[in-house]
Symmetry: C2
Subunit: 332 residues, 2 copies
């Protein structure tokens, strides 16, 4: 029998009116009570009338700060990998773009409940996204790309192993004679940017290489960001620069060429992600392949696990070095 | 059509005799060539006659250093979780105990090929196990409990998140007034022992607590190990001791009681694993639950992923604090 508002009221020993307020997000009850009402509603399997009419097997991919609609976009394969796996098991998958103001206006758990989504995959979120900040207490099965929420059994992380990636990159550069290695990546306002920086430092240390702060600069995941940062790094004469994304590497190559340096003869430039641009760049870009189809698949597998109470905390995928033309051996 | 020895010979441009030697482990060809022959045989789907007769869907759980046959054994639920999931998808699951001399006598890839196992789950292996050492080059899909092999796409790690576990343990102790926290765990000859130690240090640091080496000691994952180590730690008056396993915690409680200390009134003792013994101990033991059924399930999910070329590197599960009677609040 379908759970009704009065059943939730009875369980919590509060009035039907309060439950109704909680479910509707009225502002005259406390956040804690509202959250408790939602948790209980979800736990008891309460479905709003709107949801009863819908098919019950619905998942949502929430995207922000990331393009995904055309084949060359970074998010395209991630979405595709998730969808193909979910659809095979009879889930309907919806995609919603959620900006800051949308997140501010809608409580995440409440939104999921009313939309009838049973779980979600977050793609492209940064630390300043409000929904991300609220996940430490969510009762909704949620998988995050490249973001980590401690201690909540309903949330899981999926991403490429950044530590192994930078081990591979630095080991490779060292094996062909590089020692003065620069690092140009994004500001440390996301979990993934922080982790890649930490991973770079660790890999340098593992190879007994000196970390020179003059060779390190933080910008944005964009082509243009290189214009400001790369000249500063180049002044201090690195033989190679590891970039936090392929867009940054592409920009870095352009800036080097504008200054009159040949890539890879004068300086080696490496990317991260393996987007299509790597093959179109001149020279083509040596990079770390993130298998984005697999990331999407793993996100679905983790989400499915959480929904069956298998509390997967983190799933990381193997990074793969893709060698192209933007790297040269150092001749001594 | 079934792949024959001569097909492998043709592909590698070597003689049928050499391929046969490689497959049979003859000692008069080099390890590299033998490995290349095996890799090619596996890649081409070669099946020895023996294997053709068998059902083709076979997986193996290799166990060493761990009991698993009775319900109270640590390995029981791990094996069960793996088996129930694998059997559901029509795999036959075999279990083999492999000691050091067996590992020395049998090349892992060769053994898998001849037994017709398509993938394996390693349980209980330590750094001195030969098969573990050889995994960096294996072409056989393999999942490891609590052990990590870098950079090989065919190998995956599964285990409980030790860093989150020690965050939870230390945060909990700090929240009830403990500051002088001891650590009694196993020798650092396994990946999991190393990681738990690192996790302890990190959690102490996160809480701005002093790390006192007098309060740290390394023994074995056994009850008896406490006899030697706990008196040394106790001399330096910790208010709580975090143990690397429940057996160690059980032993620690006994030693404290023999010395005349009351647990938890005089000292708090915490375990790790949540085996049945925790409930039988007096006092019952506060510990971290490793959900061993889920570990087994995740191991199967990862193995299945690798066999489908989804290169899952690591899967970690959420640890859960189980509060019992072996911990007291510090009254100030």
């Amino acid at each position: 029998m379908a759970v009704k508002i009065k059943d939730i009221a009875q369980r919590l020993n509060i009035s039907v009116g309060t439950v109704s307020k909680g479910l509707n997000g009225a502002s005259d009850i406390s956040y804690e009570i509202s959250q408790q009402i939602l948790d209980t509603a979800i736990e008891m399997g309460y479905k709003p009338k709107k949801m009863l009419k819908d098919d019950n097997k619905k998942l949502c991919i929430f995207i922000t700060n990331m393009d995904y609609k055309s084949k060359n976009d970074f998010g395209y394969d991630i979405v595709l990998g998730f969808k193909t796996h979910a659809i095979r098991e009879n889930w309907k998958v919806y995609i919603e773009e959620v900006n800051h103001s949308f997140q501010k206006q809608n409580n995440y758990d409440k939104y999921m409940l009313y939309k009838g989504y049973r779980g979600a995959f977050f793609v492209g979120f940064a630390l300043d996204d409000i929904w991300l900040q609220n996940l430490s207490k969510t009762s909704t099965p949620t998988v995050l790309l490249d973001n980590y929420i401690p201690k909540n059994f309903n949330v899981s992380y999926v991403g490429t192993d950044n530590f192994e990636a930078f081990d591979i990159l630095v080991d490779y550069l060292v094996s062909i004679g590089h020692k003065k290695i620069g690092f140009f990546s994004a500001n440390l306002d996301s979990v993934v940017a922080k982790e890649r920086y930490e991973a770079f430092l660790k890999a340098m240390k593992n190879n007994d290489l000196e970390i020179d702060n003059n060779l390190i600069s933080f910008g944005h995941y964009s082509i243009d960001s290189a214009k400001y940062h790369i000249p500063k790094i180049i002044e201090h004469k690195p033989t190679a620069i590891l970039c936090g994304s392929d867009l940054m590497a592409y920009g870095a190559i352009k800036v080097c060429q504008d200054i009159g340096l040949n890539v890879p003869e004068d300086i080696s430039i490496l990317g991260f992600d393996d987007i299509d641009l790597c093959k179109k760049s001149n020279p083509t870009i040596t990079t770390i392949k993130q298998n984005r189809l697999e990331i999407g698949k793993c996100a679905y597998i983790s989400l499915e696990g959480i929904m069956r109470n298998v509390c997967i905390n983190k799933t990381t995928l193997r990074p793969k070095l893709v060698k192209r033309k933007s790297v040269n051996k150092i001749i001594r």
